[in-house]
């Protein structure tokens, strides 16, 4: 890595890290100065103290949630792209099915989760399906709009050479839709984390396999404010990691040819 690229990387990373650090310092100083009751508010140092004391428990919970999130996200990536491909192949299929995919978007997850517990039992399957349900819709719509935006002459080029439908799919539709698919994945990654954590409130396992959602519920009931903050922070780190993974994949797939991934 050249000095120039290092500087570019620093320019990307330092501002958000600096902002986070400044926030933590102000927060800490304010808690020490104002000394609010500890069931209302706590300092970053107290969160750090409790979190490190129970690091094993938090690490296990993060891991359990991460597994459910990855399953949910992977499922919605595969099912979402496949559904969009089918819907894009005929206007009738789209008209018949698309309205129902909107339902996925509008029915509140907490209302579906109890049903999932009945069908799948509480545990990782039900939690993963919660992540899947909330993250599916953006994958479908983005993939669909990506496929629909492929320029007509490119499609006609494939007609002209008598391309088979699978060739149109693999050599035109999917590669052409990749920028949109990746945009869909980015949104889905964040939603899968939210879906899994909220899913755990209702459908999480209470025993050894508890995830961050359960940590949140238990900490809230027992008034352990630092643990609550720690669980929320870990859940958002999970989301950041997954979105980062999607960004890396998008970069690898597109940096050679797409404007959005061109180094500036």
């Amino acid at each position: 890595m050249t000095a120039r690229r290092l500087r570019a990387l620093a320019a990307r990373l330092l501002p958000p890290l600096g902002a986070a650090l400044a926030l933590l310092v102000v927060w800490e100083l304010w808690v020490r100065w104002a000394d609010p009751p500890r069931f209302l508010f706590c300092a970053p140092s107290e969160i750090w103290r409790d979190a490190t004391a129970r690091a094993g428990e938090l690490a296990a919970a993060t891991w359990n949630t991460a597994v459910a999130v990855l399953w949910g996200f992977a499922l919605s990536a595969v099912v979402g792209v496949a559904t969009a491909v089918v819907l894009s192949s005929s206007r009738w299929a789209e008209r018949a099915v698309y309205p129902f995919t909107v339902i996925l978007q509008t029915v509140p997850l907490v209302a579906i989760a109890p049903m999932l517990v009945i069908w799948l039992h509480a545990g990782i399957q039900a939690v993963a399906v919660c992540g899947f349900i909330v993250s599916l819709f953006p994958v479908i719509t983005n993939t669909l709009s990506g496929i629909r935006s492929i320029p007509q002459p490119q499609v006609e080029l494939f007609w002209l050479y008598g391309a088979r439908p699978w060739a149109v799919l693999w050599k035109l539709k999917l590669p052409g839709a990749i920028p949109s698919i990746m945009a869909g994945f980015r949104i889905a990654a964040g939603l899968a984390v939210i879906g899994a954590v909220v899913g755990e409130f209702v459908a999480g396992e209470l025993g050894a396999k508890r995830g961050l959602g359960i940590v949140v519920v238990v900490a809230a009931k027992q008034g352990e404010l630092p643990m609550l903050f720690a669980a929320v922070a870990l859940a958002s780190l999970l989301g950041i990691a997954l979105v980062g993974g999607v960004n890396a994949a998008a970069y690898l797939l597109m940096y050679r040819w797409h404007v959005s991934e061109r180094p500036d």
Partner: protein, 257 residues
């Protein structure tokens, strides 16, 4: 490859407005290995006619027959190639992979199609750019790439839809020269839609002038100039006389008479 267009009618219907008749009974015979320019006022239906011959569209009346076989939408003739107004290279493929695409879709082995694509790229002067992506090429290079993609299959019918309209004059004349050379070499049948009379006279053996829509043929002229046309021809009196003649035709076509 001979093309026969008989009494072709094409209307475009939209929900909002009354149907618009674009082609009002066009008949045209093109002999194998001929180079025919299609001219006419802009928006008159030249491109529509070309798309019908390519099998990218269906007529509402009449018939299009290429090499003895009827053509309809999505039933393109074999051995046909089409050059669009814009290059439309696939952005995620390198130039070479773009030129290989038609061969790939026809199931040619990788090594052979690679050789053919490289030869063709050499021919259009893009050998050095073969591993670049379309976004890294200039507009003129992209169009040369799309020409290579069209010619790599060794088509017997080449359809060109105002391919160089967006280029500067010098680049355009160079590419016209290249098409001339390739046509002499390979003797495909060529239908060339253009709105440049000079380009038509330089390239074609025959010029067909369409009227404003609903289009019919207002003039169909042989362009009698030496077969091997060099850049100097553009300065000769004979050349300018042909251009002037077509200009008179165009005035009639514009008048809708």
């Amino acid at each position: 490859m001979p093309v026969r267009v008989a009494d072709v009618v094409r209307r475009f219907t939209s929900q909002a407005a009354a149907p618009v008749e674009v082609l009002a009974g066009i008949s045209l015979e093109v002999a194998a290995s001929a180079f025919v320019a299609l001219l006419g006022p802009s928006g008159c239906g030249k491109s529509t006619l070309l798309r019908l011959v390519a099998g990218l569209d269906s007529p509402d009346g009449g018939s299009v027959v290429v090499d003895g076989r009827p053509v309809r939408r999505r039933e393109s003739p074999d051995h046909v190639a089409f050059v669009f107004q814009e290059a439309h290279l696939l952005p995620w493929r390198t130039l070479r992979k773009n030129v290989e695409l038609p061969l790939e879709l026809r199931g040619m082995a990788a090594a052979e199609r690679r050789d053919r694509a490289l030869n063709m790229l050499e021919r259009v002067g893009l050998a050095d750019a073969r591993e670049r992506y379309p976004a890294q090429l200039s507009g003129g290079m992209q169009l040369r790439g799309s020409l290579a993609r069209a010619l790599v299959t060794d088509p017997r019918l080449l359809l060109l839809d105002e391919p160089f309209a967006a280029l500067d004059e010098i680049t355009r004349q160079r590419l016209d020269g290249l098409i001339q050379e390739l046509w002499h070499e390979r003797r495909f049948t060529a239908l060339f839609v253009t709105h440049s009379l000079r380009e038509a006279v330089f390239l074609a053996e025959r010029a067909v002038m369409l009227s404003r829509r609903p289009a019919h043929i207002v003039a169909d002229r042989a362009i009698e100039l030496p077969a091997d046309r060099s850049a100097e021809l553009r300065a000769s009196p004979a050349y300018n006389e042909k251009v002037e003649r077509l200009y008179q035709d165009l005035l009639i076509a514009e008048g809708g008479a």
